[in-house]
């Protein structure tokens, strides 16, 4: 509680970082504009597409299924993130953490069953 100054100084650091974050692109782009030569030609104004001639609309639709797969992946990714530290510190955490982990895994299992029955795992 006495360390209120320290507490507020932390926000000062956040503020400095915010200012840096805003200033950096502004300064960098402005410096670039000052230094680079300006010689436009038609070829320079075409869209860059890895060296080939651009032939497509720039707006491409992805299948929405990628999104659901990504979501599924994230769920199990998070599960691993939780399981690793638990496994490492298993001896210290004891039976309570084991029970909690079992509940957690069981809940995720219901989620997986849900995804399976709702045909998320099938690619049409």
């Amino acid at each position: 509680m006495e360390l209120l100054n320290v507490y507020q100084n932390n926000y000062l650091i956040v503020f400095v970082f915010l200012c840096l974050g805003v200033l950096l692109p502004v300064v960098a782009l402005y410096l670039g504009k000052l230094l680079r030569p300006y010689k436009p030609s038609d070829a320079k104004y075409t869209t860059y597409e890895s060296g080939i001639e651009p032939f497509h609309d720039s707006r491409v639709q992805f299948n929405v299924r990628y999104y659901i797969f990504a979501l599924m992946f994230v769920i199990f990714d998070v599960e691993t993130v939780f399981l690793y530290p638990w496994a490492v510190a298993y001896d210290k955490l004891g039976i309570f953490a084991l029970v909690e982990m079992l509940i957690f895994v069981a809940m995720l299992l219901i989620g997986l069953v849900y995804a399976w029955k709702k045909k998320v795992l099938r690619w049409i």
Binding site: M1, L4, G94, I95, F96, V99, I110, V113, K117
Partner: protein
């Protein structure tokens, strides 16, 4: 934590939560594995049985002394018991509405989910009622709101339902973020998430700068939670969401979600801010912030009641009416009288009964008419006299006439406004806006009793609706004539 401490906890006080969690998980699995053609209403009935079992287990635990387990993150006290009963009974009635709900479109494949999402939302609300820790409070709040977002949009192929869910997600997300930011300040100042420890630490704060930060935290938490209560000026989402959501979900949002909102407001405001950063004469920060509460209460009552006058859609009208009722309860919160808990608890009980009853009638009428205009109520007295009379009783209770639970609820709050420092202005606004509310409640009455029906078909009333109406009307009259039952019940809790 080893096995011995784990065994020493009294897990039995969590039985109601375990029952709801188990039934919700069971319904999820059943919904996935039952044959596709089977009627999913059976899941709704299992849900009701589960809720009734949870009510019974709360009732059997009523005499248990206040206990807290898991480092106070679950506290089973009189506050939790009393509010848990309101939430459980309300949810049971909402489930009856949901079973009788027959949407024209967009519900075909999701009827099962409809039932267990109510249960998971209820579980979130129940965790909030008996939580002594900021983290579990927040988890409960999120469980409730995330389930409600899905419920609002469960009619997947209905445009209004989609709009409603979208608006709810965006507004709810922003308000949650604001609340959480406020909570982070409280944590930053105290270094703990335990509400009791926070209260102790904050009572020792004397530094003006810290009190200033605390004031900011208070405002942010309160503004964020005002969204959940649909208190003006943070109410704009409510009419659109209420209108688009399926009727049982609207009933759920306006009763259970709102009660849960008040639960978390009371928990945080009273336990964290009541004695925080006291001035020389011992008044906590809540007294300094008292004017903000008063303004929000007054604006909520005025906007809710006045804008309701212009509504032509019955669900929007009830959205504004529910905003107005939140305003009345905020008056009780502002005055901080000694009967604060009783008056808020009783008002929420009365409001749960009368509002759910009214929504039962709304559901029958709007489903038959295929729209939700107030003019669909025209000639209800001729089409179904009993339904019209029951709706009449509920409307009278909502308006707050003597002899009904709504009247006693308002009376408690009104009298409470004169305890300690009297709040004449708030009390006057409360009376004036109550008079304004007569216009729109009796507008529905005139439609029902004095307008010719455009549609002469008889209404068929499903069983679930009958149950809800019976409980609602009997409860409204019983607590209106003998409010001492509720008072004795609350006084005998410990």
């Amino acid at each position: 934590m080893d096995l011995e401490t784990l065994k020493s906890f009294e897990w039995s006080v969590m039985t109601p939560e375990f029952i709801i969690l188990g039934v919700a998980a069971l319904l999820t699995l059943l919904d996935l594995f039952l044959p596709k053609k089977m009627d999913r209403r059976i899941l709704g009935w299992i849900g009701i049985v589960g809720i009734l079992a949870a009510i019974l287990s709360v009732a059997s635990l009523l005499n248990v002394e206040s206990t807290s387990i898991l480092d106070d993150s679950f506290t089973f006290d009189a506050f939790g018991k009393s509010f848990k009963l309101i939430l459980l009974v309300g949810s049971a009635l909402v489930m009856f509405l949901a079973i009788s709900y027959d949407a024209k479109e967009g519900m075909e494949d999701y009827r099962g989910e409809f039932y267990y999402l109510f249960l998971s939302a209820l579980l979130g609300a129940m965790i909030m009622t008996s939580s002594g820790d900021l983290i579990t409070l927040f988890i409960g709040l999120e469980l409730l709101t995330v389930s409600s977002y899905i419920l609002a949009g469960i009619r997947k192929h209905n445009l209004q339902s989609n709009e409603s869910a979208m608006k709810y997600v965006i507004n709810g997300g922003i308000s949650t973020a604001i609340t959480l930011f406020g909570m982070s300040y409280v944590y930053g100042l105290t270094g703990t998430t335990n509400l009791f420890e926070i209260a102790n630490k904050l009572a020792a704060v004397t530094n003006g700068q810290q009190a200033y930060l605390l004031g900011l935290a208070f405002l942010m938490i309160f503004v964020g939670l005002s969204f959940k209560l649909a208190a003006a000026p943070f109410h704009m989402w409510a009419p659109d969401v209420y209108q688009g959501a399926p009727t049982p979900v609207t009933a759920f949002l306006s009763v259970i979600s709102k009660s849960a909102g008040f639960v978390i407001v009371i928990r945080i405001l009273i336990s964290v801010f009541y004695n925080a950063a006291p001035t020389d004469n011992g008044e906590g920060i809540l007294f300094k912030m008292h004017d903000y509460l008063a303004v929000i209460a007054a604006v909520t009552m005025i906007i809710g009641n006045v804008v309701a006058l212009k509504q032509t859609n019955i669900k929007r009208l009830f959205a504004y009416s529910s905003i107005a009722h939140a305003g009345y309860i905020l008056v009780a919160l502002t005055t901080m009288s000694s009967n604060l808990l009783y008056s808020i608890w009783f008002y929420l009980l009365a409001y749960m009964l009368m509002n759910l009853g009214a929504f039962a009638v709304i559901q029958v009428v709007t489903e038959q008419a295929g729209s939700s205009k107030i003019s669909d109520f025209a000639g209800l007295a001729r089409r179904s006299p009993i339904l019209a009379v029951l709706m009449g009783i509920l409307l009278v209770s909502l308006a707050g006439f003597p002899g009904t639970a709504g009247f006693i609820g308002k009376l408690n709050i009104f009298v409470g406004a004169f305890y300690g420092t009297p709040h004449y202005v708030l009390a006057a606004i409360m009376i004036a806006t109550t008079v304004i509310s007569y216009f729109y409640y009796f507008g529905i009455m005139t439609q029902m009793f004095f307008r010719p029906a455009s549609d002469e078909r008889k209404l068929n009333i499903p069983f679930g609706i009958v149950v809800v109406l019976l409980v609602a009307v009997v409860g409204s009259i019983l607590f209106g004539i003998m409010p001492n039952i509720a008072l004795d019940f609350l006084n005998n809790l410990h």
